[in-house]
Amino acid sequence: MSTVAKPREVHHAPGVHAAPTSFWRKYIFSLDHKVIGKQYLFYALFMLVIGGVLATLVRYQLAWPGRPLPFMGKIAPDGMPGGVMLPEYYNSLFTMHATIMIFFAIMPILIGAFGNFVIPIQIGARDMAFPKLNMMSFWVAVPAAVVIIWSFFVTGGAAAGGWTSYAPLSAIQPKGQTLWLISLLILGLSSLLSAVNFLTTIINMRAPGLTFFRMPLTTWALFITALLLLLALPVLSAALIMLLFDRTLGTTFFLPAGLVVSGQPWPNAGGGQVLLWQHLFWFFGHPEVYIMILPAMGITSEILPVFARKPIFG
């Protein structure tokens, strides 16, 4: 019986993709979960240094109030003219320190770096469920960092309303606050894509026999973290968009009637509710503390049993 030679269709197992051939594909726009994990690590470490510098400036001001730092007079002539820190620049420093440490350092290290690196290995998968989405998560996070750093150099300086950005203070701040909102919106999209990827991977791609209750605790922690991200982030994004509209399009979600700023009636005030921002923000903010601590607890629960030489229980 003669057979017609047909090109064999290649069926890849989920997550399997061809080995990269070029430098760009291997190190920059990589689909490999380990490479993306390392990219997140360097991204987060870079932002950690920036956040650390901001904290150092805050501490410097507290230790030696008003003592000039000449080089800062050159880097930030508006905020530290002649190297002497202005009050609004101080507010910017701690606001941006907290924002950068929480969103750009802790989360990318624990979730982006460890999550991407460890999850497929621990559950016996070849890669994440959606490698291209994974690459996109990282490369969406990059412009967010660019925008947040850029905001230091716009008129009026970076956001200075605290990392919680309570309205209406955040509604009447200079332009840096708008960039803060845009940056966190972009970063929120990145985290959301990661969360979807983590959940799909953990639910669908565990090795045969690896039931949920046999799953390593680090992966469990990252699983719950991804679930929390998926539920909490859209609420934050909604609040960010509402505040962005209040600032740019004249809506009044958070601006009650009769708002008077510096003796002048605020142009678009009326009908808003100040506390709405706090409710929306903390709907995200409360899970956020677990989003930050759970992966670290998962990692700890994995390391301790190894060095104590006995399985963990509880």
Partner: protein
């Protein structure tokens, strides 16, 4: 534990609660840390000793879950009583004062002789709050612009001043003295210097001070009206606050 001076009648209640929680958590903290160190030392690695495997101890786990739960319930019930006293039950026959925060000052308003706010005989001051000793005071807190927080550390009073909302709080000064009003919510570049003063007077001094303020205000009023400029003199600065209060109250 050193806390600020107690200048209001309910300051001891709050401090007692604070100390109780401090002691419970402090003792547990010390026990846990000592046990941690003890176990580290007791079960350290020794050649030839093999780790034993345990599935845990259900009875122990139930005990260390139920005890903290009971402590929490007890603290909740105790603090509920204090909360009712401070936050829910407003005293009768109290001095009424309005405090309207703005970047970066406290506008204080007294109803004046007719006992009504928003009339010509209102007495307004900037950053100077005087209250009589031994008499409850109800303060209606609001804000013109952003969120501030009306904080009297020595009175154990802290209340957010939220634009568009009017929040009523009360306290009773139990000793004569002069203390600081601090802003406890980041409110912009002048937050660090947003400071007022509270003076607890004897009844006579309080009445005398109120009369002085009223007299100074009537002397000042024609001048302020003549100026009629947007520059916010203390007397005119209170007017937008009134607008906020009325509009905010109706929404």
């Amino acid at each position: 534990m050193r806390l600020p001076e107690q200048a209001s009648t309910y300051a001891p209640d709050i401090d007692n609660m604070f100390h109780l929680i401090m002691w419970i958590t402090g003792v547990i903290f010390v026990i846990v840390e000592l046990l941690l160190l003890f176990f580290l030392w007791r079960y350290r690695h020794r050649p030839g000793r093999v780790a034993t495997y345990t599935h845990g101890n259900n009875r122990l786990e139930v005990i260390w879950t139920i005890i903290p739960a009971l402590i929490c319930v007890m603290l909740a019930l105790l603090s509920r009583r204090i909360w009712d006293h401070i936050k829910e039950n407003m005293p009768h026959d109290a001095v009424e004062i309005q405090v309207t925060a703005e970047q970066f000052a406290w506008n204080i308003r007294y109803p004046g002789p007719d006992g009504k706010f928003g009339t010509a005989d209102d007495v307004t001051t900037l950053n100077q709050l005087h209250v009589p000793v031994g008499k409850p005071v109800i303060v209606t807190v609001t804000s013109k612009d952003v969120i501030h927080s009306f904080f009297l550390p020595e009175f154990r009073v802290k209340q957010d001043a939220v634009p568009g909302m009017h929040t009523r709080i009360w306290f009773e000064g139990n000793k004569v003295g002069h203390w600081e009003i601090a802003c406890a919510e980041l409110c912009g570049l002048g937050h660090f210097r947003m400071k007022g003063f509270i003076t607890v007077d004897t009844q006579e001094d309080y009445q005398k001070w109120l009369a002085e303020q009223a007299a100074a205000q009537t002397a000042e009023a024609p001048a302020a009206a003549a100026a009629a400029a947007p520059a916010p003199a203390p007397a005119t600065a209170a007017d937008p606050a009134k607008t906020v209060a009325e509009k905010g109250g109706s929404s």
